[in-house]
């Protein structure tokens, strides 16, 4: 009787303890989700302006005289005076503006890239030569920012404000989805800048990393786990691999600079050298997780295969490896996610350069998403703030897509019995 009372009393305490513990856990989860949500909401809100672009409607005169062009083809087009054409059609919006300073302010409303845009349009429509066409050209980033912030931000003078109001009245200003963000490389002008160069650079770099680190990593793991004799030398290698995982990533950049670029002459700033450096960085992760995955395969299966007369190699590739695949893939995902977000080692091998062209191969100069974000964050133009946030969003989307793909792959491997 006494005992029961004793237990009853302690039970109450024990249950209270459990409830408290659950509460702690729940609080921790809620708080971390709150942080995550705040972060994502903040980035998304900041990124929204980057996805729209303001346009100004101009009546551009494509007269032969003004352009200095007699006919339109690939060779002659570059001799055309399109800058002048854009300027004069901008002045034509407000014919009464005559002062030099005011003219300058007026033409500042239109993007510096407008001349190239109308050049390309003329090249596509040669019959426009000698006519006047109504075309939409990109507005300057200051105007864009000013519109997006409802006049709060952006360097717009009072005079310019009046012009903008007048243009809006005539429906000569519109906003539309910013496709340039996804179709162009980097630029000093925010309205011309896009993320495609960095995106392709990231893809190429990751492809190099994936191929190198998975083949070398998995082969190393199989050798060390299954074939290698247990001696001091393999112990030494194992310790070194584990230590490699703890080396600060910038050191890998220095190593890449010294070995790959200086010694082997791999061209700098390229996805190839970036991939090589990132492979070195992800190798330890992949090796360690692949070894763990191989170790967790029941030895009885290997024995069964060996007992039937399979060679060690057959036993590994036909039985151990398929079963270890989900674990190996998990390691590879973690490694790739690390590589995707890595900036520091790439700074050392020249991938921080300002590169306008979208790379077309692993030997072209390129930059990658996180470095692009870093570059934009460092740019003085106000419009790059939104671009930076948009870049982060795109990087996150990329990361989530990659991880989902990997999870799907893993599920497929797991489903085989």
């Amino acid at each position: 009787m006494n005992n029961t009372e004793q237990i009853k009393r302690s039970l109450k305490k024990r249950y209270a303890k459990e409830r408290r513990f659950r509460l702690y856990g729940l609080t921790a989860i809620v708080v971390s989700f709150l942080f995550l949500f705040t972060l994502l909401a903040d980035i998304t809100l900041k990124a929204i302006p980057a996805f729209t672009q303001a346009w100004v409607q101009l009546d551009v005169s494509f007269e032969s005289d003004t352009l200095g062009l007699d006919n339109v083809n690939e060779q002659t087009i570059n001799e055309g005076k399109f800058r002048k054409a854009v300027k004069s059609s901008t002045y034509n919006l407000f014919p009464d503006v005559s002062k030099r300073k005011q003219k300058k302010e007026l033409s500042a409303l239109v993007s510096g890239g407008a001349q190239y845009q109308i050049r390309d349009q003329l090249l596509d429509n040669p019959e426009w030569l000698g006519t006047t066409q109504t075309v939409w050209v990109k507005a300057d980033d200051q105007l864009d920012v000013w519109l997006e912030s409802d006049g709060e931000l952006g360097k717009i003078s009072e005079q310019q404000e009046q012009w903008i109001a007048a243009l809006q009245e005539q429906d000569r200003i519109k906003r539309s989805f910013n496709t340039t963000l996804f179709t162009a490389g980097d630029s000093r002008e925010p309205e011309q800048a896009g993320i495609l160069g960095a995106l392709v650079g990231s893809l190429l770099t990751l492809a190099v990393t994936l191929v190198l680190s998975i083949t070398v990593g998995v082969a190393t793991a199989i050798y060390l786990e299954i074939f290698a004799p247990q001696n001091r030398f393999t112990d030494f290698i194992e310790i070194n691999i584990n230590n490699l995982a703890a080396v600060p990533s910038i050191i890998f950049g220095l190593l890449g600079l010294a070995i790959f670029i200086s010694l082997f002459g791999v061209p700098r700033s390229t996805p190839l050298v970036g991939g090589l450096v990132l492979s070195l960085m992800t190798l330890p992760t992949i090796i360690v997780s692949s070894r763990a995955a191989l170790k967790s395969v029941p030895p009885s299966l290997m024995e069964a295969a060996l007992g039937l007369g399979a060679s060690k190699m057959q036993a590994v590739f036909q039985h151990a490896l398929p079963l270890a695949m989900p674990g190996i893939l998990t390691g590879a995902i973690i490694g790739m996610a690390q590589a995707l977000g890595e900036t520091a080692p790439l700074l050392m091998i020249g991938m921080v350069a300002f590169i306008v062209d979208v790379p077309s191969g692993v030997l072209d100069a390129a930059t990658v998403l996180p470095v692009q974000i870093y570059l934009w964050a460092d740019s003085p133009e106000r419009a790059f703030t939104a671009m930076t946030a948009a870049g982060i969003l795109i990087l996150l989307v990329f990361l989530v897509a990659m991880n989902s793909l990997a999870i799907v792959l893993r599920k497929r491997f797991e489903r085989r019995w």
Partner: protein, 279 residues
């Protein structure tokens, strides 16, 4: 060898002495023979100078207390111990007059000739069909699909499993019951048509009914194969084997006709064990 092991050796020699009974058979009956086999795990000796013949189409049972080296000895017969890096073997083991530890012997080929069934059923996580077909595919034993089908069906029939699984050959082998899994493993082993089958306590993880089925199966398999079986159960040894070998602390104590071993053991240690005084 360390002094310690030498000391151990001498003690054991005094306790056991030479192997009693009939470890050797007339030449024409011998399938496998072991002579003066020692096995070491690093510095620790597990098997001491054992010699034994295994006859054609006989079931040889190996019994003894835990850790007496019977499983280790069994695994030397198809060089499964090779997979343990610290394991070292001296002496001579012959299969049909060929030293299986000879330089020109490929362990892969040897294991196709001397198959093995393990203590815990270990089917591959593949279909029943693929489990049985694995060995024949590995060694290219079937010329075409029909051939392979034939091998799979015959093997499953001989393992007494076919009737239970004939409608679901493409179901997972790991989804079968424990006893069925073990028979699947036996079918997998005999699909390669080995000459000798080694069984390491094949029924220890099974219930009495599944055990009875396996025991019947072993008796039938004797028509075509030579079988060496390690078992913890003396009743099982008595039921399935023609000859029995008793191991004690890594030393082969006594070998003889199963009837004689269980009714009239010659060595004191054997008698102690089978009468249940230890072990």
């Amino acid at each position: 060898m360390s002094n310690n092991t030498d000391q151990q050796n001498t003690d054991l020699d005094q306790l056991v002495g030479e192997t009693t009974g009939t470890p050797f058979l007339p030449d024409e009956k011998v399938k496998m023979s072991a002579r003066n086999v020692d096995v070491f795990y690093a510095d620790k000796q597990a098997i001491f100078d054992n010699s034994l013949d295994i006859g054609k189409n006989e079931v040889l049972a190996m019994i003894g207390p835990s850790g007496c080296g019977k499983s280790t000895f069994l695994r030397t017969l198809n060089r499964m111990n090779d997979t343990i890096p610290i394991c070292r073997i001296t002496g001579e083991i012959k299969l049909d007059d060929e030293n299986i530890y000879g330089k020109d012997i490929d362990p892969v080929l040897l294991r196709a000739r001397v198959g093995m069934v393990f203590q815990k059923p270990n089917p591959f996580p593949k279909s029943i069909y693929d489990n049985v077909a694995y060995g024949p595919r590995l060694h290219g034993l079937a010329r075409n699909k029909a051939d392979l089908d034939e091998i799979v069906v015959t093997s499953l029939k001989r393992a007494g499993l076919f009737d239970e699984v004939k409608d679901r050959l493409d179901a997972s082998g790991t989804g079968l019951s424990g006893g069925q899994q073990q028979r699947l493993c036996i079918a997998r082993t005999i699909a390669v048509s080995p000459e000798v089958i080694l069984m390491d306590e094949p029924a220890s993880a099974l219930d009495p009914i599944a055990t009875a089925i396996i025991e019947e199966l072993i008796d039938e398999l004797r028509q075509n194969f030579t079988i060496a079986i390690v078992t913890h159960s003396m009743q099982q040894a008595a039921r399935v084997s023609q000859r029995t070998a008793y191991f004690h602390l890594g030393k082969l104590v006594e070998v003889g006709e199963t009837n004689q071993i269980f009714t009239n053991p010659a060595h004191q240690l054997t008698e102690n064990y089978i009468t249940g005084r230890f072990g």
